[in-house]
Symmetry: C2
Subunit: 340 residues, 2 copies
């Protein structure tokens, strides 16, 4: 792999000093228009490409942003990254993307790889296993800008983007109640997760608000094994005191519910109504179509990126403020919660 021509060589061709060429290319004001033009045209002719590492070394910035997500095979995270990229690419930033596969150990490894300046900032959503957050604290204390979205880490005083999880879950539960559900179950991944807690609160409050005493049996913690979850939900549905409504706090649990229902004599929505947080592209092609709470994923990514770009490009910018910014999700009612 032969790299292109260097600044020094370009300068030699032009019979100019490297510093002059550098200034011309960086559009310094203290350069004559004439030489500026000459330099630029020669640079184009020879297809000069500055070496990013020399620059990074010199300027102590990488022009890269690390994005850490719990899983790639998930429309929500893919959309967020699209949103981030749409902004950052305009500013010459590159995206290093890492998946933790919901594994804290992997998350720690990745985070430790980012301690050395390879990325100028981190945008992340924590794994569902993450309870010890020393690795994140560590990173924060080194002064690396971190920005959380969706699954945030409350203990780190930085900017966090979330959706109105409490309200959405409240509304979703209320909708199930309005459709006649009496016993609503809440499916979740892990109580450690910020989104789980908020959504669970919304669920509980909606029940209490309707004069229903929540049963702790109906708040169900699932795993990452789809097969296990399907098994668990099947048993739930076959139990004497089965629920007649389900609020899935993440998409995969709604899908497991659909699979589980197939293994029983029940049907959605007649015997069981289902609503789920989900950014899948085809909720209306499921059988029955799925009532969803959809998060503004791309907008989240864009907002994250905008704040970050401001922080990274404006000189002497203050630290990312310790605030939580909430964007609204959207409830779309479909057949899975229909009364017929």
């Amino acid at each position: 792999m032969k790299n292109g021509i260097s600044l020094k060589e370009l300068a030699a061709r032009l019979k100019l000093a490297p510093s002059t060429v550098s200034r011309a290319l960086n559009d310094s004001y203290e350069i004559s228009e004439a030489t500026k033009k000459k330099v630029i045209s020669m640079a184009e002719k020879l297809n000069y490409q500055p070496n990013p590492f020399a620059r990074s070394l010199r300027e102590n910035k990488s022009k890269s942003i690390a994005v850490i997500i719990p899983e790639r095979i998930n429309n929500f995270f893919a959309q967020v990254i699209d949103g981030i990229e749409s902004i950052t690419s305009e500013h010459g930033y590159h995206l290093l993307v890492y998946s933790t596969h919901e594994d804290v150990e992997k998350e720690k490894k990745i985070v430790s790889l980012l301690q050395n300046g390879r990325a100028d900032a981190i945008v992340m959503s924590v794994s569902s296993q993450t309870n010890d957050i020393s690795h994140l604290k560590n990173l924060y204390e080194r002064g690396l800008p971190i920005l959380f979205f969706d699954r945030v880490c409350a203990e780190i005083p930085t900017t966090k983007f979330i959706t109105n999880d409490y309200e959405s879950a409240f509304e979703g539960t209320k909708h199930l109640l309005q459709q006649g559900c009496k016993r609503i179950a809440f499916l979740m991944l892990s109580m450690e997760l910020s989104i789980t807690r908020e959504r669970h609160r919304g669920y509980l409050d909606a029940l209490k608000n309707a004069g229903i005493e929540p049963e702790s049996r109906l708040s169900i913690c699932c795993s990452h094994q789809d097969a296990e979850n399907i098994q668990l939900i099947t048993e739930l549905l076959n139990s004497k005191s089965r629920p007649d409504g389900i609020l899935a706090s993440v998409e995969k649990l709604a899908l497991s519910t659909y699979h589980a229902v197939k293994k029983t004599d029940l049907s959605i929505p007649d015997d069981l109504k289902v609503i789920s947080f989900s950014n899948m592209s085809i909720p209306n092609l499921l059988n029955p179509s799925l009532t969803t709470i959809t998060q503004p994923a791309e907008a989240i990514g864009q907002e994250c990126a905008k704040i970050l770009i401001k922080k990274l490009t404006k000189p002497r910018q203050p630290d990312l403020p310790n605030e939580v910014i909430s964007l609204p999700s959207k409830l779309t009612i479909r057949e899975s919660t229909l009364v017929r």
Copy 2:
């Protein structure tokens, strides 16, 4: 952002020369065990992290691999990247991920950003718009290792990973014929795409093999606008000589078909049988469940990565050979092609 301690500072603490410390940390053989231990323990104590850019500058390698895909919101590509990451992360490589959004101009921009050594290699699947390939040729000629998967670029003499597209399409079409289809349509994105051409060949040959003369009207080129495609397919289904079978060469076109069918009086599989190349996670939750040809996406990613790692880590490795490696896809028959 204060970066950590430097090698020089670490050396000062140890009262050793930087070069000695460097050698100790890089496990050079020409260093006494005693100092090696001392250095390593001190490095750990002070949490020394080598500056990646200094190293990159010096060694002229980035320890990054660029992955360019046409879209992120697509399980197939997400799975491939998971596969790549599973291998490359073990070898200390970082993944720069770019999406072209099926736009050649974006693809060109991204490619041009990678001319300066920011990535040690590129793994990519070209956009469906890509017919002018000068940007890729350019990159190849600079000596940057490029590896294509799925949507490959035949003109660039490098290693390409594909699936047995011809055979899969042949088998898929044959299956439709066996299920009684007489008029089978082929839905595609763009004739420029390697996968389109192969899959189309398989489709045509299966028809001919059954003594059916292909109708060119039934080979349908769609766009990237789902709404347009649904419209197009709806019209097709409402036409007098409508097809009774559809082979979708990419998943999104099968989904558009499902949407289109909803707008007609027809039903799948009674009036129209559908089969599609697809890596979606829930083909069996669609109504009706979708017969799919699933590509071994994660394996493709892993194989790409293995070849690349070998090329990048072994000294004096030859160029990536100009060969096409094919992995088999899997046909899974579901309700959408059922006879009842």
